[in-house]
Each structure stands twice: as C-alpha cells, then as structure tokens.
Symmetry: C2
Subunit: 324 residues, 2 copies
C-alpha cells in the first residue's frame, strides 16, 4: 500500500480516480478501504440526474448542458450509465467517443458505466462513483441514464435534481407515466421541440404536473423547458431551472431531508449487496449450491424449505434462532 489513492484523489488526480472506479466496478476489495477514507470528504457535490427513454437525446443534452455549466467555472463529472449486454458485460464505447471533445477539458471527468451484474447492483456502484467524483473536487455530477425499470429509478434516486427528457412522437409521456418516471422529475425537458407534436406534448406534461400538484401537495412545481439540444436551444434555461430547484431544496430544508433518506436507502442497498456477495461465495465455494440444485431438480427438496434452513443456519440474529 505504497500509493495513497485517497490523498491523490483529494488532490484531483483523475488517474487515481479512474483506478478506484475500476476497482469499484470489479468489486475489488481494495476499493472499500479507499472509499472509507474518502467518505468524510464527500457530500459537497451537487448531483443532477438526466433520464428519458432511448432516443430522447439525453447524451447531446448532457454535452450541451456541461458546456453551459463550465462557463460558470464549476467542475463537472459525468456518469453515463449504459444498459449493457448480459453476455459481454461491457459498456458501449459510444458515449466515450461521443464526448471526446468535452474530455479535453481537464475540469470535466466522464465515465461510462455498464449496468452489469446480478441483482441490481448498479445503483450502489453509481452512488460509489458519484462519491469518488465528489472527492475528486467536482462541483456538479451529472448522472445520465435510460429511464425505464426499477434499476434506473434507483439510479436516478441518487440525484438531488432529476431532469426528465421527453420528445414528441414517441408516446413518451404516456410510457413515462406508466413507468412512474414522471413522478420523480423535478424539471421536465421537451427536447426536439422543433418537431411536430412538441406543443401537444408540453400540454400533456403541464396538465400532468397540475394534477400531480393537487395530489401530492408539493411545494415545488416542476418547470417544463423546451429545448432543441443539437442547436443549443433551451440549454441556458435548463441550467437556470436546475439552479432554481437547488435553491428551493436548500431554502426549504428538503436538501438535507432528501440526502438523509438517500443515505438510508444507500446503506440498506450496501448491506444487501454485501450479504449477497458473502452468501454467493459461501454457497458456490463448498459445492453446496450444486448439491441443492440437484436436490431441487429431482424434487427431493423444495426451495422454500431449503432457503429457510440455510438462512437460519447462517443468521446469528436471535429472532431467526428462535424461529428455527
């Protein structure tokens, strides 16, 4: 342990950050030692989530927004969470290539992450990477992800301000409502607003926001920003909306409350992930899983009895001991 990665990251070394993030992605145990050291130095960066369905233009919007934010001197970290192949396990290179222009700026750090793995560990991994970029000195971290599925809702739950990007013509608004994505948006962006159907989409979104305001009695009314990201239209206004939401959170005390809830969720999620890692390792190492599967396939046991036995054997909590 000759290299002090924590110290290097706190001094702004992107190389040290990249190394630590790779360890996090590989679930290498070394990562957690350094993450523990970095933790007291986190919590400073503001976190913006950008979500929407595939083809909504999130990547372009993120690029353009980053340029606007950089004008104010803030340092920006970008985490592009890609749905990835369960076979190759790798993130697509597209996003990295796409943002090569941005990445010449030393105060921007871009990282693509694959949504790999078993049992939804992506939200946990993303939260960890946010902490690394925070410790690295980024003032603002943007998480860009496709907005469908529970995994993605968990990921976007990490953000302080969530922007939902919709485009005309994809039936996006209705699908987003179905997936419960609209309810987690703090700012709406109607991108490709020069396309047919943009006004109708804005109307749908506005009436949804109105209904929502009645039901949930939120103090914050989500603004709807019209944008044409490829032509740099609406980007400044998006940034103003994000800043305005940030001000609302800070003034109302919601900023602290939201972060407290998020810390609670993250803690549970980490315990969840760690339990799985230990359990899997144990079951696979001693051939117990294979033996159990054989019994199940031959219907000599059932998974419910098996599960109960193993859990009771392994848990040292008194409640389970009593029940067994």
């Amino acid at each position: 342990m000759s290299v002090d990665y924590a110290a290097q990251i706190l001094e702004g070394s992107q190389r040290a950050a990249a190394r630590l993030i790779s360890w996090l992605e590989d679930e290498d145990d070394r990562a957690y030692e350094w993450m523990a050291k970095l933790y007291p130095h986190t919590g400073r960066a503001y976190i913006v989530g950008i979500t929407g369905s595939p083809g909504a233009g999130k990547s372009t919007l993120t690029d353009k927004l980053t340029r606007v934010i950089r004008k104010s001197g803030l340092k920006v970290g970008i985490i592009a969470v890609d749905p990835s192949s369960p076979f190759t396990g790798g993130a697509l290179l597209g996003d990295r290539v796409r943002m090569s222009e941005l990445s010449n700026d030393p105060d921007i750090y871009i990282r693509s992450m694959a949504t790999r793995g078993f049992l939804g560990g992506t939200a946990k991994a993303t939260a960890d990477v946010v902490k690394v970029l925070d410790a690295l000195g980024k003032d603002l971290v943007i998480i860009e992800t496709v907005g469908v599925g529970q995994d993605e809702i968990d990921i976007i739950g990490i953000a302080d301000t969530t922007c939902l990007v919709l485009v005309p013509g994809l039936g996006d608004a209705i699908q987003s409502m179905k997936a419960g994505i609209m309810e987690i948006a703090d700012v709406f962006v109607v991108n490709k607003a020069d396309k047919q159907g943009a006004d109708q989409l804005c109307g749908e979104v506005c009436s949804r926001i109105e209904i929502d305001a009645h039901i949930r009695k939120r103090d914050w009314t989500a603004p709807v920003v019209k944008a044409v990201a490829v032509e740099d239209i609406g980007i400044e206004q998006l940034w103003l909306s994000i800043e305005s939401h940030r001000k609302y959170l800070l003034d109302s005390g919601m900023f602290y409350e939201n972060r407290r809830q998020r810390t609670s969720r993250e803690t549970l999620r980490m315990i969840h992930g760690e339990l799985f890692r230990v359990v899997r390792e144990q079951l696979e190492q001693n051939g117990r899983l294979d033996a159990a599967v054989e019994q199940l396939m031959n219907k000599k046991s059932d998974p419910y009895t098996l599960m109960h036995d193993i859990v009771c054997e392994w848990l040292s909590i008194s409640k389970c001991k009593e029940a067994s």
Copy 2:
C-alpha cells in the same frame, strides 16, 4: 389451516391460486408453506417469455398467440409484468381490462404483476407465480414484460423460449442491441410488419443473428417472424417457431441444462432475498438504521465500515467471523 390451498390448486382452483399469488405479492409468510407443498408438482409447464419495448404491441400479440395456442387444447397462464409507479406501487389495470375477453375462457388464467418494491424482487415473485400456474395445471405460461433493464432481463431469464418483439420506426433494433436484449431472444417477431421500414428492420435483425451465430456458435438459429398482431397475421407462424425451439431444446438436452441453471439462479436469489428481508426488518425495528444514518450524515462513520460490521455481526458463517 382448515383450507388446503395446495390441494385446491392442484385440482385447478383458480380462486385458491389467486389467493396464494396475493400472499406471494405481499410477501406473506403463509405463501411459502403452500409453495413448499406445491413445488414437487411443478416443472411441467412450458414457459414462454414475450418482451420488447413499450409500444411494440406485446399485449396484442400475447392475446392473439393465446387464442392460437388454445386451439390445440393447451391450457394457458399469462403473467403480465408491468413497470409500476414507485409511489402508488400498483399495477395498471389496463392489461386486465384488455384481456377481459380471454378471461372468460376457464382454461386461461391472467395475472398482472407490479414491478414494485426495493432491490429487484420482481424476478423472484414472477418465478413463484409461474410455479403456481404450473401447479394449477397450465401447460404453457406466458410471461409478458417490457424488455429494458436488468430486472426485466432477470424476469425473461425464467422463460424456456424468449420472443423479442420489435417494430419498425422506433430505432428498436439498435436500442435492443444496446440493452443486450437481442442476445437473449430465441425467436424474433417483427410486429406491425405492414408499416414502413419493416423490411429494413428484418434485414438488420437477420444480419445481427448471422453475426451472433458466428460469435457464439449456438446450434439454434433464431427465426424472424413477420407479424401484424392486430390483424392476426403471423401468429400461427410464431407459435410454430416457439414449438420448433422447444423441440430443439428437448432434443439437444439444453432444456434440462437451462432449467438447472435457472434453478441455481433462483435458489441464490431466494436465499439472498430472505436474508436481506430479515436483516432489514431488524435494522428498521430497533432504530439501528436511523442511528447509522445519523452517524453517516455527520461523517462520524463511513458506510463501508458500517456495512462490514453489520454483515459480520449477523452472519454466523465462519469465514466472515474470521475476517472480523
């Protein structure tokens, strides 16, 4: 325990099945007792997964396919997995209403399921419901789900034959490739094949299949079925393709091997889910989670150390004890 739900379900009582499924969804402990009793009677039903992006026409295709299957006398169970709101937690009623016509047939059982909850328990719940429908005497169980995200990949991993539904004009093929969905498809359906761009989409899919065949050396070459579900076009051919894939699995021995792997995954998932349930209950009941969050917010502890301490304290597995 005067009512023997297991016996009733094995006799074909849909009412008893509905009750058990509700308990499963609520994670009511009573469910597991009956599931253990039913387990020896499961494994008989063939499981078909139908996936694709929102708007691909999966629901209509499932309806029409079910009608075709019913002609051969097979009993069909349908599980429609809906992405649901993180706030309301409820499945949309749409699919149930939609299939009201089918549901007049006593040999069809339809169930909508919400993708609720924390930490991806949907795949486990879906696998359990499949077992109930299997025990209920359904010859074929169709799982219909939106094909994006790790949760959904886990869900579709339950199926013996997975059909991926694509439609022209949504950039679907590319997005599916990105999400790794194409790699898990055994049968491709190009739905709305009367629309512009259908031939191009078929071409894209075919060349992808060809590339895939080179890389993965699968013995099965996924067929591409053109369909117009609303007009009942291509449905018979889809059913033939599913049957043909089933024959391939049985002849090649892959059927047993796939089910063995699936049982292994499911067993891991169940043990993990149960461990986490117990641990979470404990953390929340005794106020320990709140205390931990307070410590984290004040940076008096870090989540990595905390997680390690909690997992080691609660697990009586020897390795963890040694490490602590």
